[in-house]
Symmetry: C2
Subunit: 385 residues, 2 copies
Amino acid sequence: MKGIAILGSTGSIGQQTLDVVRMFPNEFRVVGLAGWTNLSLLQQQLDEFHPKLASCQDMAENLHALRLGNCSPASLEEVACHGDVDLVVMAISGSPCLLPTIRAMQAGKTVALASKEAMVMAGPIIAKMVADGAKLLPVDSEPSAIWQCLQGESKAISRIILTASGGAFRDRPVDDLPNVTPKEALKHPTWSMGKKITIDSATLMNKALEVIESHWMFGAPWEKIEVVLHPQSIVHSMVEFCDGSVKAQLGVPDMRLPIQYALFYPQRVANAALQRLDVAGLGALAFKPLDVTRYPCFSVAMEAARAGGTYLAALCAADDVAVNLFLEGRIQFTGIAGLVQRVLDRHVTGDGESLNDILEAEAWARRTALEAAAAPVPHSIKERR
Amino acid sequence: MKGIAILGSTGSIGQQTLDVVRMFPNEFRVVGLAGWTNLSLLQQQLDEFHPKLASCQDMAENLHALRLGNCSPASLEEVACHGDVDLVVMAISGSPCLLPTIRAMQAGKTVALASKEAMVMAGPIIAKMVADGAKLLPVDSEPSAIWQCLQGESKAISRIILTASGGAFRDRPVDDLPNVTPKEALKHPTWSMGKKITIDSATLMNKALEVIESHWMFGAPWEKIEVVLHPQSIVHSMVEFCDGSVKAQLGVPDMRLPIQYALFYPQRVANAALQRLDVAGLGALAFKPLDVTRYPCFSVAMEAARAGGTYLAALCAADDVAVNLFLEGRIQFTGIAGLVQRVLDRHVTGDGESLNDILEAEAWARRTALEAAAAPVPHSIKERR
């Protein structure tokens, strides 16, 4: 049995991972679970899966609220690095995923990474660890698709084609975007996901983060990564090889499929509970160019990506703050890109790319984003937005 | 340098193979060329590639018409089995491909098979040879797509999805089909190919032959092979794995791409001369169920496939005769399925599945088809058609 730890077990990916685990009771043993604030769901998970270790926000304070039984309280790193853990599903939203990801890889664990922020913030560090033998598997549907397409192929990649649904407002007139509500933005057209990633899908920040993740995970130069709008989210991504042949991975939009692929890799295992793709019933699959003017966050993020250094840590933190402010009704949807841009404009990247620099830049950008949101927006930037 | 022989060098696949060879003058040496009746083109090819061996129809009679120089006349088997040949591109239309394919595999050559009739007529024999170590590579775009999708995957196939353009008359009212002309039938909507295969595409006989080829080549049970209409011929085929994940291979409809893949396998080699797929410019890719009532040849062929034995040799021969009669204006387009059915109805399959039985059944079916075409069609069969 494979020992697994799930960091972010009460989130969307965490719950769906446990769903897959539930379908294969003889294959996996849940060694550790880390939730965050949803203590009642965490309690249910502890009661069902009886892990050895559990973690949550403000552990000491929240201990009294949980019936731990034989389960020991632990930090995120301790859950990820426990001796019985073979594979860590890293599904923590945002920057807190970074340190446990690095620590788990250092401890020799296979990390199934749903938290793309780790790769975005510390791409060069993680890519070097992987080159040196650390085991990292993608979980998100697009990088999983690329990874599946690359099986059995040499690295003769000429282009990675990431598909994007276009998010909640893909058909909304651009002039209406300042007035859209969080409730509307949370209605993703094809995927059911957590709040942060759903807003990031509406701004296309999520796709930019996937471009960055793919750059580091698959060693593809920026100019060889293309984003194509594909509203149906059936083709999860494609790879063009040097001879012009293109491979695509398709499936119903169900995260349990790429999660299961990562959990069982390199085996594929039959699962009758997952819906099959009815190819003959697909009708038309649409593909069209990305209109970047509709999605300013995408360009802001790609500029940070090309700048490199700690710009990417600042990007993740600023976006996290901006999305939260939008969800709290404190800034407009169209204010997200502007706020992120203002933070990046003020950022001075560190000399090195050490973990310390990255974490400092993250904290700085978080503070700066909150300050910038509280300050009046300069006229010039208003225009820019 | 890889020594190659091309059987069917003056046909569509043969010419395109030489086109690829021309693009990589340092990779391949043309050891043997076999044309059939197009002697002037064969002469050009001999003058350009200087093979050691050449073959054509009625060699003795045609020798005086060819300037062979240092090239020796040879039989198809001799061309395929010459000691300097590493890879044989088998691109002879129809049943004459069978014996040279078997002989080349027996001689330890890698056979890149465009002539699916060999696999259709002698599937069990060839599959056994491959299981025992013979090297057979697909060239046709659909089986090549399946093969590409299977790279790096274990045999956990749950479904093979062959795409079909639907041929020249996919949008023609069924009632008009008795009156279509050979000229109209030869206008394939997406591929430029030889005459026989273009008519087979219009009747969907070609897709049935691909189902049969895939059955033997990839070991997929009949019920796990599905045909889906895809008018654009961009997705060349797909494979669904046991976990529900689907992989597809895509590309512009250019046979040089799968030919090059087979020639260089297992390497992929960059080729700037081949057009790239513009994914963002694809617009809509359509997929819909196959309407078998429009394509009676498909059902006739699948019935023969399930019956097995020498029915498949009879099928290939009867179809070859029927297509020729249609091209000569001697039977209607809608008469092809009926004529093939009448031959199969009279066929008694041999006990064994020896090469001899297969060749005898082929010759019998060829005679019987010609006789049946000359005889008045019985009333009951008219109705059935």
